[in-house]
């Protein structure tokens, strides 16, 4: 029988392995995330399991009885769920185990693996994924410990190094780009498509620079109305926004749609009404909300998550020392955690308990 620590693994695909066009094919919605988590947990070799899906990464953390056998099953489950070819996933994914897996989860929580290095949003997303996995009873003592310690280590690394200082947010980048297009953005009209958190933050950044006219359109009109109220703007029916597109200078899109909500045809129609006015499109959706081909239209400036993150990371060189310091701290924490888990491994009762929970508990509960 393999030991507990030999079986800790993380499999995933992030902005480092896959460009946006590939990443969006692997992306999971909230329900799909839970479905995959449940499916993997059902596998006999998997003892604990947690799935994270954000706009920049899909990652599966697990504790397996036999790691060498489980990799294929994990990959195939994801391929089957998303309908992607195995070769594509293999070419754009990674697999870490044991200490490497520990270091990885710590660096993800610390924001070092984020597209905008040092951002803190990922910590919240990891906590949410952890809470969901706990609620689904898919994690036990090992992943519990791993994640609790990871959250602590991430906070410690951030406090000790200040890696978040000097970090440029997506919202700030969007404001700067809007200024390069429109000059004074206070008179620009903004349309928010969807009510995603990043889009809301971007709209807040625009508002802080004087944008007065922000409208919101979302499939859920109540949400749109609420968000529009926050920005002192108007809510637009989702079915109507295409007709009103010509009135807006900036469109920030962040919907959960699986197909583009803004097509080239609809934008071409809107452009005819204002051919000499530029249009700034910010696509924060995953999968993307705006057809990439709209970029070819004159006076249309389309930026997606990858584009904005690349600009936001331009001051990385200046922050390199802090980032390296944070990495050292996280490695030390990972090593300590590894030793703790090893010590637990040497205590037969705990190993047995670790290997039994939570699946055996769930079975016992059912019985």
């Amino acid at each position: 029988m393999s030991t507990t620590l030999q079986s800790l693994f993380v499999f995933g695909s992030s902005h480092r392995e896959a460009p946006l066009a590939i990443r969006e094919r692997f992306a999971l919605g909230p329900e799909e995330t839970l479905q995959l988590q449940a499916q993997l947990f059902e596998l006999p070799d998997i003892k604990e399991c947690l799935v994270v899906s954000t706009c920049n990464r899909i990652e599966i953390y697990g504790l397996a009885q036999n790691a060498s056998n489980i990799e294929t099953s994990v990959r195939e489950n994801l391929c089957a769920l998303r309908g992607v070819e195995r070769e594509l996933l293999d070419a754009h994914s990674f697999w870490h185990s044991n200490l490497e897996a520990l270091q990885h989860v710590l660096e993800v929580c610390g924001g070092l693996e984020s597209q905008i290095v040092g951002e803190t949003e990922i910590l919240g997303q990891m906590k949410q994924a952890y809470a969901r996995a706990q609620a689904a009873n898919c994690i036990g003592s090992v992943l519990n410990r791993v994640f609790e310690k990871s959250f602590q280590a991430a906070k410690a690394a951030r406090n000790q190094t200040g890696i978040t200082a000097g970090q440029v947010s997506i919202g700030n980048v969007a404001v700067e780009l809007a200024s390069r297009i429109f000059g004074q953005i206070s008179t620009s009209r903004v349309l928010l498509l969807g009510s995603g958190e990043v889009a809301e933050k971007t709209a807040k950044a625009l508002k802080s620079k004087g944008v007065a006219d922000i409208s919101v359109s979302s499939r859920n009109f109540e949400n749109a109305h609420q968000l529009a109220h926050n920005f002192e703007g108007a809510a637009i029916e989702f079915s109507d926004f295409q007709q009103q597109l010509a009135h807006f200078d900036i469109v920030v899109s962040s919907t959960a749609a699986t197909e583009p909500v803004l097509t080239r045809t609809s934008l071409e129609r809107a452009r005819k009404k204002r051919p000499d006015q530029p249009c700034f499109l910010i696509d924060l959706g995953m999968p993307r909300d705006i057809e990439p081909s709209v970029e070819d239209l004159d006076e249309v400036y389309l930026y997606n998550l990858d584009d904005l993150s690349k600009i936001a990371n331009e001051n990385l060189e200046q922050r390199k020392t802090k980032i390296e310091a944070a990495r050292v701290i996280l490695k030390r924490h990972a090593w300590n955690l590894w030793l703790q888990l090893r010590r637990r491994e040497l205590q037969p009762k705990r190993v047995e308990a670790a290997l039994q929970s939570p699946k055996s508990n769930a079975v016992a509960n059912q019985a």
Binding site: D276, D298, Y301
Partner: protein
């Protein structure tokens, strides 16, 4: 005046523009700053020397110095900088000073270094007719407006390309917004076209009275340029040429207008009467 000859003053002006441009470029490269004050300093020094040189040359020929390619280019550059000093503070376009000094350095160095541009000519090239002198001055002034228009168009294309290609270069961060540049280009185009129209109207008064003195080639080129800029205005108004195409059209037309100066000047020189009667200015002519 100050013991300077007009040629030396023209040369010093060219050096001021070139050094200013070079230092501003180095500052951009290494200090990550637009170094606008360097461009301004270079422009002020060069403009002062150029004003002095044009005065000296004008005093020597007792007329506005627009008799050869060298003088025409110097006058265009001088007008360009004068217009920059007027509109620069109004529009507050970042980096316009850098692009202006770049063009000034390029043009003044070119006419200073290329032989055969500062040729001797008949001192009474305008025949003492104030209408034709006004025509020439206004025409050069319109060229200066079109030069600024070409610079803003170039800045527009650079900024737009940078935004489209998602390049986040230092230069693009300092450039004005594309909407600002587009608005300014529209206004400059109208201004330049009005000035050129006025120049042609005054020139027509002289042309009607002295048909044989105006070379057909010059007339044709001038009318083509006028029609060219006029067409851009009409097409822009009809939304057929907007933003990028508008900028490209303005840039190409100005390059064409600038390139036509040489053949137009040659055609005019060959048409001028009494080639022996030369009132040589203080410069050494070829």
């Amino acid at each position: 005046m100050l013991g300077l000859s007009d040629t030396l003053a023209f040369s010093l002006a060219a050096i001021c523009y070139s050094v200013g441009f070079l230092l501003a470029s180095l500052r951009l490269r290494f200090k990550q700053s637009d170094g606008a004050w360097i461009s301004y300093a270079g422009l002020i020094a060069g403009f002062s020397l150029q004003t002095l040189a044009l005065n000296l040359r004008g005093a020597a020929i007792q007329a506005c110095p627009l008799g050869n390619l060298f003088e025409i280019t110097q006058f265009i550059v001088w007008s360009l900088i004068l217009i920059f000093f007027i509109i620069g503070p109004i529009f507050r376009l970042r980096w316009l000073s850098y692009f202006t000094i770049a063009l000034a350095a390029m043009l003044t160095l070119l006419v200073s270094l290329v032989p055969g541009t500062d040729t001797a000519y008949q001192s009474s090239v305008f025949g003492g007719n104030p209408w034709i002198e006004l025509h020439a001055t206004l025409a050069m002034f319109s060229y200066a407006v079109f030069a600024i228009l070409a610079l803003t168009s170039l800045m527009f294309l650079l900024q737009q390309r940078s935004l489209k290609k998602k390049h986040h270069s230092r230069l693009s961060q300092y450039l004005p917004s594309i909407q600002q540049l587009d608005t300014m280009a529209r206004r400059l185009l109208l201004t330049g076209f009005c000035v050129l129209t006025a120049a042609l109207a005054f020139g027509a008064v002289f042309w009607i009275q002295n048909l044989q003195l105006v070379p057909i080639f010059k007339l044709l080129v001038t009318c083509l340029i006028w029609v060219g800029y006029g067409s851009i205005i009409v097409l822009r108004w009809q939304h057929k040429i907007v933003t990028r195409r508008h900028a490209m059209a303005c840039l190409i037309l100005f390059c064409g207008a600038l390139a036509s100066l040489w053949p137009v000047q040659s055609a005019r020189s060959s048409t001028e009467l009494q080639p022996a009667a030369v009132n040589a200015p203080t410069s050494d002519r070829d």
